[in-house]
Amino acid sequence: MDRTLLGPSGMTRFLLPLGAATAAVLLSAPTAVQAQMVSICPISVGGDLDLITSCNFTQPIGIEDCQAAAPIRFQADRVPSGASVLDFWRGDNCSAVEQRGPDGTCVHLTEAETAGTMFQFDVPAPELVDCETDHGVQTPTIWVFATDESMEQGMVDPAAIAQIALPVDTRRPAPPEDVEGGAGDTAIPISWDIPAGNTDLFSHRIYVAIGGELVGGGELSADAGALPDGGAMDDAGSADDAGATTDAGPDAGPDDAGTGTDGGPTDAGPDGSLPSMFLPIADDGGLEGGTLDGGGGLGCSPGPLQAGLFIEGEPFLTVGESVAAASLNGAELGLDFGQTAAIVVTAVDEAGNESPTSNVACITRVQTVGFCDRIGGCEEDGCTCRAAPGAPRPGAATAMAAGVALGALVWFRRRRKR
């Protein structure tokens, strides 16, 4: 036997390096918790993959997403094998048990069943975000616990907790102000002012109505139809009942919206966070029992267009968020010379929320006279700036003569040099 090894000094010499090596291995290798941490990654909203990049939302959930109960698809990974439920909470530091208690600040949202350690699942947007309150951009933290019990109130392994930052914006931007239209032929100018509070715009949309019809089609409504009838989310029933235009209007009744006070147009006022904007629209596009706004001094017939309406349709033109002017081609609009059209402008923010329509303005297509028209050579399809054919070009002859003289001079000088 090696006394050196078995002796106190020998054991020390043997154990110390072994301990150091073991510590090095343990410190360098990922911990068990890190290696098994659950991942809940959003990958699409309503099927649109462009709204999410690297598991992060690039665009807030907006009114349309709430209205359509757009499904948010998640990719779950490294879900612990013992978990049967993914429990969703919203608030600050929901990993703390006391925050999920009766006196806590966290709110239980919903849950989803697990399907293995790696799977995809959908959660309707209204179940995760506050679609009721009118608010600008907010980014609450969504906590997901992979547990075996819904409404988890107890301690949760840190490896089974995932966090998601979910931006939401349910506030429509203010409509553009002081929209003005002009007269012209192929570049009829229009302009507007951007309200100072519209700081998160994405674009402006321009709608045109000719002869009482929207160019490009579409529908107008004075009812926002964008948010569920008022009351708490539970009162609005399931996500299918809340938010659809028909539910917010005449079809909304006690069964659809929970209690009777939650249904119908009048309930969208006192019970809800937003005032009702329902005004009956007549068959001719005007207001029932009311007069058309925009009359008296407006140089065109506004048709269905009016300030404060909501449009469901394709705009004639879309311009950028900081653009406050545009030009419209009267020929492309199909206007005859002397014919007018009504225009309104809306603002769209980053979440896709569209403002009510602006004031109505008029544009007029007129035959214009420009420089070429004054020069001449005008035909049915336009002017070509051409004077009468066969006109002499004295300048060309002089220039040719000068060019020949210059060339001769250079050639003569080079000959003399040789």
Binding site: D185, I188, M400
Partner: protein, 235 residues
């Protein structure tokens, strides 16, 4: 310097002691005090100008009614190749240029009422000229003035439109002439001018004013007699 100073003393003594004539003294001074070598710059092969000035095509009432008193300006550059030096005169060369001017005004509606639509005319003159740059005053008489004459052809590309419609375009051709008077900037700082030549090959720089004219014409006159000012370089 030491040698030169002593040479001067020596020549002065020689003059005074031998009673030499002025010619003999000068001969001795030149032998004892060699002249400083002449400064030779880099070859002068090109002239380059940046210029700007008003320009109003002589298009008559159509132009005035469309664009009012809009006179451009015409911004241009010119490059001359100096092919031959005429002794005691200057350089003979061939030059070409590229310019740009745009005019805008409000179109008219029925009855002559102004409408909110724009009518425009754009010009791109491209002259091709023979150039005579007379630098004898600067080179021989130390007067920092250059005189240049230019004569050749002018090709003016034009386009016009109203609103979103391009209504016409073409090329006007005519005679181009110019008379230029320039102030050479070397005179202000010879050392800097020499350094500019050694580092960048810019032999001379000058400020100029030029009276020029064009008879370019397509289906309507595009020429004008006007003036321009600018900055030029001899490279």
């Amino acid at each position: 310097m030491q040698f030169g100073r002593w040479s001067f003393v020596a020549s002065a003594l020689a003059f005074s002691f031998v009673g030499a004539t002025g010619v003999e003294a000068q001969y001795l001074a030149e032998r004892l005090m060699p002249a400083e070598p002449a400064v030779v710059g880099t070859p002068q092969r090109f002239a380059f100008e940046l210029r700007g000035g008003p320009y109003t095509p002589d298009a008559g009432t159509a132009f005035a009614e469309s664009f009012g008193d809009d006179d451009g300006p015409l911004l241009a550059m010119e490059l001359d190749v100096l092919v031959y030096r005429v002794p005691y005169v200057g350089f003979l060369g061939i030059g070409t240029g590229l310019g740009w001017a745009r005019y805008t005004g409000e179109a008219e509606g029925p009855g002559g009422v102004d409408v909110d639509e724009e009518t425009s005319l754009a010009l791109i003159p491209v002259p091709l000229m023979g150039v005579l740059r007379i630098d004898v005053l600067a080179r021989e008489l130390n007067v920092p003035l250059l005189v240049t004459g230019k004569l050749g052809a002018d090709f003016v590309f034009w386009s016009s439109g109203t609103g979103a419609v391009d209504q016409g375009s073409g090329i006007g051709i005519g005679l181009r002439w110019g008379v230029q008077l320039a102030l050479e900037l070397d005179w202000f700082d010879l050392a800097a001018a020499r350094a500019l030549d050694e580092e960048w090959g810019i032999n001379h720089s000058f400020l100029f004013g030029e009276l020029f004219g064009s008879t370019a014409e397509d289906d309507f006159p595009l020429g004008d007699t006007s003036w321009a000012i600018g900055l030029g370089f001899i490279l």
